[in-house]
């Protein structure tokens, strides 16, 4: 994706660098999120995800690099049309839910009338309409999370940046949020969110950006990342054999142990049938397949720990 092509409708982070004292939190981070795309932003703790998102929202300033939207460097005025959900959830504990949303909508530039209508519509859509007059602190954590999402969406953002939006949600909450984000992306909003739940990212996103120690280690469509993975992986299980035997097979490295076997990476010169032979020697083979590396496996390979 060339700069010129992406310039049309995309959130671009270009060459972002940020230091905190001697720590380099971001080192020349570049990636873009196109309109209508949902991008997962993944990386280990402390990799720089939150810093990058804060910079995208103007909460922090970069030492170098810039953030662009529609091909232009964003200013405070543009950022007001972004929607943001920080990792550390934040609501005024003593303020009423509806007032809170109206206030935030006003800060994002909505006129009073519009702000009230949108706030009411948001609590309706997120099924917390009956709590609109309650103080935020009296809501359950799940409902506070919904209000937090409402706060990010209340002003019809043109861009959505969410830091760990799924953390702490129950499966139903995950589904509701997934659907809302999908809806936003389908409406043409670039959506980028960070998450440690890689299976979830794999399910929801077409593309990911992987970051480690402040550097982007991989980015692009998940399918392409898989195809680019040079490893050959095999999943093999032998009924009742336990998990020990697989460790003794020569020429493979276990990437993920399973109860009766595991997923192994084949070394050069070792073929799948070698592994199958080894398995047969142990007992009846219940499962044998060549597998695509999952996002978690790609992550483990690229992220040095």
């Amino acid at each position: 994706m060339s700069d010129a092509a992406a310039g049309a409708r995309a959130l671009e982070l270009v060459g972002l660098t940020r230091r905190f004292g001697d720590v380099v939190a971001l080192d020349d981070v570049t990636f873009s999120v196109e309109a209508g795309q949902m991008v997962g932003f993944v990386g280990p703790n402390g990799a720089g995800k939150t810093t990058a998102m804060r910079i995208a929202l103007g909460v922090l300033r970069p030492d170098a690099g810039e953030v662009r939207w529609l091909g232009r460097a964003v200013d405070a005025e543009t950022r007001r049309r972004f929607g943001y959900m920080p990792e550390e959830r934040g609501l005024y504990p003593k303020m009423r839910v509806l007032d809170q949303l109206v206030y935030l909508a006003r800060l994002h530039g909505l006129e009073p009338e519009d702000a009230r209508a949108r706030a009411a519509a948001m609590v309706q859509a997120l099924c917390v309409a009956d709590r609109g007059g309650d103080r935020a602190e009296s809501l359950s954590l799940g409902n506070q999370q919904r209000v937090q999402l409402a706060a990010a969406l209340v002003h019809r953002p043109e861009v959505l940046v969410l830091d760990e939006p799924f953390s702490g949600l129950d499966p139903v909450g995950v589904d509701v949020l997934s659907e809302m984000l999908r809806g936003q992306a389908d409406a043409g909003v670039p959506v980028v969110f960070s998450s440690h739940q890689l299976d979830l990212v794999e399910r929801l996103c077409e593309s990911v950006v992987m970051i480690d120690r402040g550097r982007v280690v991989a980015s692009g469509r998940i399918g392409d990342l898989r195809a680019a993975d040079p490893r050959r992986l095999v999943r093999v299980e032998v009924s009742g054999a336990g998990e020990e035997w697989i460790e003794r097979v020569t020429g493979v490295r276990v990437t993920e142990p399973l109860p009766d076997g595991g997923i192994v990476e084949l070394s050069d010169g070792v073929s799948g049938s070698d592994v199958l032979d080894a398995a047969r020697a142990v007992g009846p083979v219940r499962h044998f397949s060549v597998v695509q590396p999952s996002l978690s496996e790609i992550f483990r390979r690229l992220v040095t720990r």
Partner: protein, 392 residues
């Protein structure tokens, strides 16, 4: 960028509305008003001008009573004379407390237990004058001669330390003003600090910073809270004025209004100064529990200024009061008193305002800098470190 400029009033509006709607605020305001009215009414009861009820019965008593009325008036003592039917009625009236004393047949003064000394002295003097007059007239002198001899002008009184009623009232109004101003500066300054901590500890600040600049957030907070403080002060002032006027405590209402105006003006001056400092105190901690520690230096300064302010109501021209009325942190609590008591020269007033405004103008950028940089930091933030560091 008009839109961006219009953000801080939205912040200010929230601060004002949310706090004014707070039940705690409404209750404490009501309590303040009730206390104020109570104090005014009680002090009016205690400071009521002396006044007596005098019963008269029998021949000659009334003449003495009229003489007492004239003499009492000269001493600014109120006197109501009640004609009573007979001695029994007079004794009953005195016993029931309807009359403080009764003159019976111009012969005898009836009182209840301990005689009201002032009243009895007046009656004694009047009766003495009456009897002397009768004695002299009956000894052959003409009425004119007797009157010329007896009706002498009282001796003039030369007070070495004359009581200035106007000044005394100004001092008490100023005293109340210092008291209220101290309370307002402290309470509303604390609100700024705890409001900053609330936003930090609830993490809502990060949501806000995605759309509002820290400097605008701070400005909105200070203006919103300050406006509420000013409104409450005005309400207290008006209620206090009306109550004092109602019970007749105020002899110089226009001076009281002027003092109220001074208090309002110096609240504005003092509030912006202190609010900036309180915002810093709030921004460098992440939990309400830690706020007390960072507020301690401010608390000490305000309390010390308060005591200087109180002492200034009795000695407004002391060196301490003069110096304190020029320093930005103490002038709000001292200068209004000195002006109200007429002890501040015009150049002192101008200097005080200039220093106050100048100090605040110099302080705000520094406070904003610390505030902006400390907002996203957690734990106890060191001011020096923040100032030396870089922007968020």
């Amino acid at each position: 960028m008009n839109r961006e400029r219009s953000l801080w009033p939205i912040v200010a509006r929230r601060e004002f509305v949310e706090r004014a709607r707070d039940r705690g605020f409404q209750v404490s305001t009501s309590i303040t008003l009730v206390l104020l009215i109570g104090v005014i009414v009680i002090s009016a009861l205690f400071n009521r001008p002396t006044s007596f009820d005098l019963g008269v019965v029998g021949e000659g008593s009334d003449a003495i009573a009229q003489d007492v009325v004239v003499a009492a008036k000269a001493l600014d003592i109120g006197l109501d004379v009640h004609e009573l039917a007979d001695t029994t009625a007079a004794r009953r009236a005195v016993d029931a407390g309807d009359a403080d004393a009764a003159i019976v047949d111009a012969q005898r003064i009836v009182v209840r237990a301990s005689p009201p000394a002032q009243l009895v002295a007046l009656i004694q003097a009047a009766s003495l004058r009456q009897r002397s007059r009768q004695a002299l007239v009956s000894s052959g002198l003409s009425v004119q001669e007797v009157d010329r001899a007896l009706l002498q002008a009282p001796l003039p009184v030369d007070a070495l330390q004359p009581v200035n009623a106007k000044r005394r009232e100004a001092a008490s109004v100023a005293f109340v003003g210092v008291l209220v101003l101290y309370g307002q500066l402290f309470a509303y300054g604390y609100w700024v600090a705890s409001g900053v901590v609330e936003e930090k500890s609830s993490r809502v600040v990060e949501v806000l910073l995605a759309t509002v600049r820290p400097s605008h957030l701070l400005r909105g907070k200070i203006f919103g809270i300050g406006l509420l403080g000013l409104a409450q002060l005005l309400l207290i002032g008006i209620v206090g004025f009306v109550a004092a006027k109602g019970v007749g405590t105020l002899d110089f209402p226009s001076e009281a209004i002027a003092t109220l105006g001074l208090v309002l003006a110096w609240f504005v001056l003092g509030f912006f100064f202190y609010a900036s400092l309180f915002a810093v105190a709030g921004s460098i901690v992440s939990r309400q529990e830690d706020l007390q520690t960072t507020m301690t230096p401010l608390t000490i300064v305000i309390v010390a200024s308060f005591f200087i302010g109180i002492s200034a109501t009795s000695s407004p021209d002391s060196t301490l009061a003069v110096v304190a009325s020029l320093l930005p942190f103490s002038s709000p609590l001292v200068m209004p008193t000195r002006i109200a008591l007429g002890d501040a020269t015009w150049w002192e007033i101008v200097a005080s305002i200039v220093v106050s405004v100048g100090a605040t103008a110099a302080l705000i950028p520094v406070a904003t800098k610390i505030y902006s940089r400390a907002l996203l930091r957690s734990g106890r933030v060191r001011i020096r470190q923040v100032l030396r560091g870089r922007e968020a």
